[in-house]
């Protein structure tokens, strides 16, 4: 009898059965989702509530008491020169890395995708930096940027240029970190752009050619760029969030210096919490960080939403 029913009808029956038997599913739900819910509460939700709570206290690591001090931590942070450096440097680093790594990623993806010759090899080579542990890469770059014996300045010397002192000079330290950041992030963005490029139907280009877009440049503005817009927005927001999370290079190589020129948000939070033991103050920095990333993540969801709907539309 079941064979007579259309798939839609069968699904409708299944759904109806499901709803009428909600109670029957409870043991399964408790058993299957239970561990995730309990552990999620312990490791993520409760800590989130605690960090927000701590940000309004004067708690110090190891202390047995704490008292509620309202907005004091936030007010102190607003007038703290280290925190101001930290925010300014984080934003400057982001402003350097995001446009450069997005543009490089897009350029690489378009060049690689343009022809089939050696496509796989180029993709592999440019993706390699993404796989390497940031910390290992950091010590390698530190040595490459060594003022006297590093590869970069040796090469510059060959060209007759006296290279800067890179990480040791307050005026170039943050830029040096940004170079390392772009080098590592460009390959990741390239892969995201490549997925975007392969999703553009070839007919669009043919249609554009018929409409008189003869040059590659015209086709880029007529087809590629509009089609890549959603993924570009997405890449930008991901790159911003990753830039905000800069920590390793600063912690291991510069220690926030020279002269606080590479002091960034996560590093400030880490030193407040685990070097000065000012837990309440560190929690306040974590909350500032959370708000910044939260706003960006909302932007990210805004941008990925149209993509998700179009994909669903294509499937059905």
């Amino acid at each position: 009898m079941a064979d007579v029913l259309s798939p839609d009808a069968r699904r409708a029956i299944a759904i109806a059965n499901g709803t009428s038997q909600h109670g029957r599913h409870w043991p399964i739900v408790a058993l299957y989702a239970g561990p995730a819910i309990i552990l999620g509460l312990i490791t993520l939700i409760v800590p989130l509530v605690v960090v927000i709570g701590l940000s309004f206290t004067d708690y110090r690591l190891g202390a047995s008491t704490l008292s509620f001090i309202g907005m004091r931590n936030f007010i102190d942070l607003a007038s703290d020169p280290v925190m101001r450096h930290s925010l300014a440097n984080t934003l400057a680093y982001t402003a350097l890395v995001v446009p450069a790594s997005t543009a490089t990623g897009l350029g690489l993806a378009m060049l690689i995708d343009a022809r089939t010759s050696l496509k796989g090899l180029y993709r592999t080579i440019h993706f390699l930096p993404v796989m390497a542990a940031t910390i290992a890469i950091a010590v390698v770059w530190e040595f490459m940027l060594h003022p006297s014996f590093g590869l970069v300045n040796l090469l510059l010397a060959k060209a007759g240029i006296a290279g800067p002192r890179w990480l040791e000079d307050p005026s170039t330290a943050l830029i040096s970190l940004a170079i390392i950041g772009v080098w590592q992030m460009a390959g990741f963005n390239m892969v995201l752009f490549l997925t975007g490029l392969t999703a553009i139907p070839a007919q669009y280009y043919e249609a554009a050619a018929v409409d008189g877009a003869a040059r590659a440049w015209d086709r880029f503005w007529l087809v590629t760029w509009p089609m890549l817009r959603p993924i570009t927005g997405f890449v930008v927001v991901i790159s911003v969030i990753r830039s905000f999370q800069l920590f390793e290079t600063v912690y291991v190589i510069t220690g926030g210096g020279p002269q606080k020129s590479t002091e960034v948000l996560l590093y400030t939070m880490f030193s407040e919490a685990f070097e000065f033991f000012r837990t309440g103050r560190a929690a306040a920095i974590a909350v500032v960080f959370l708000v910044l990333v939260g706003v960006l993540t909302l932007l990210k969801f805004r941008m990925s939403a149209p993509r998700a709907t179009s994909r669903r539309a294509r499937r059905s």
């Binding site: 552990l39 390497a132 040595f143 590869l151």
Partner: protein
């Protein structure tokens, strides 16, 4: 004729640019290996030498293993990533199944919570997690490394999305064939969802092998460190200005993931593209 000329120049230009960027992408790896096989006097030279006159590769690599327990670090790293991934999979898989296939009241709320946790940067909750680990006496243990990552909102989300594409008829057929609910998750859904599981596995393993922030907070005993911490420790305590050994250590830590990537490039790149949303 006229059509082939621009085609050729375009193709040549593409190769020229990509070769140049390839050199930039590979230069640090190359310089790392080149320095790792040089003796100190050639490293501290103002002359540019790619290949050493005196090969010191054995000395430098041996120095790494002599001065720090590098093999222990690698073993610790492997143990941590395997433990984390197994925990994440065992916890996420059933939860993703329930979210995708079992109707119950509160399902939307639970999925909303998963999406919320997906957006939460791990560093924000690091301080309370540390206080909790301290209370439980887990500081400086493997469990302090693994437990905070045991619930992967991202893993749940990814597999839930994948499970939703599996038709209900298949599950009904399996039930008729006598599969238990447990069997459906681990013997039917898991094999079908293998692409998503692989992508998630690649994401999880690379993230936690390279992870630095959290281990730096909870691990302190020199013999318990993971490879990235081992490098930092080596740089600060032992090596000083011994760049040859430091570069050798960096190469040892990078090697396993790079080798795995080169062996299974397609899977890695597809996996990263699929998991790109996590950022």
């Amino acid at each position: 004729m006229s059509a082939t000329r621009p085609h050729l120049t375009g193709s040549l230009l593409r190769h020229l640019v990509l070769i140049a960027t390839s050199i930039v992408a590979l230069a640090p790896f190359f310089w790392m290996l080149s320095t790792a096989i040089k003796p100190a006097n050639e490293i501290f030279s103002r002359e540019l030498h790619v290949w050493p006159t005196h090969f010191a590769g054995w000395v430098n690599f041996a120095a790494v293993f002599e001065r720090v327990p590098m093999l222990t670090y690698l073993a610790n790293g492997a143990l941590v990533v395997v433990l984390i991934f197994v925990l994440q999979l065992v916890i996420a898989l059933p939860c993703a199944y329930v979210l995708a296939k079992v109707p119950f009241r509160g399902r939307r709320l639970l999925f909303g919570a998963v999406v919320f946790c997906l957006m939460l940067p791990p560093q924000v909750v690091a301080i309370p997690q540390f206080l909790l680990a301290q209370r439980l006496g887990l500081i400086d243990t493997l469990w302090a490394m693994a437990l905070p990552y045991s619930v992967s909102a991202f893993g749940i989300y990814l597999m839930r999305q994948y499970f939703r594409t599996i038709p209900d008829e298949l599950l009904d057929a399996a039930r008729l064939d006598g599969f238990s609910e447990f069997g459906i998750v681990f013997r039917l859904m898991l094999p079908i969802a293998m692409p998503a599981v692989t992508a998630f596995g690649i994401f999880s393993v690379t993230t936690h092998w390279n992870e630095f922030f959290w281990p730096q907070i909870v691990l302190s005993s020199p013999e318990k460190l993971t490879p990235p911490l081992g490098i930092a420790f080596f740089r600060n305590e032992e090596a000083g200005t011994d760049y040859g050994a430091l570069m050798a250590a960096a190469a040892i830590v990078i090697a396993p993931l790079v080798a795995a990537f080169l062996l299974a490039q397609r899977r890695f790149i597809e996996g990263i593209a699929l998991t790109g949303i996590k950022g």
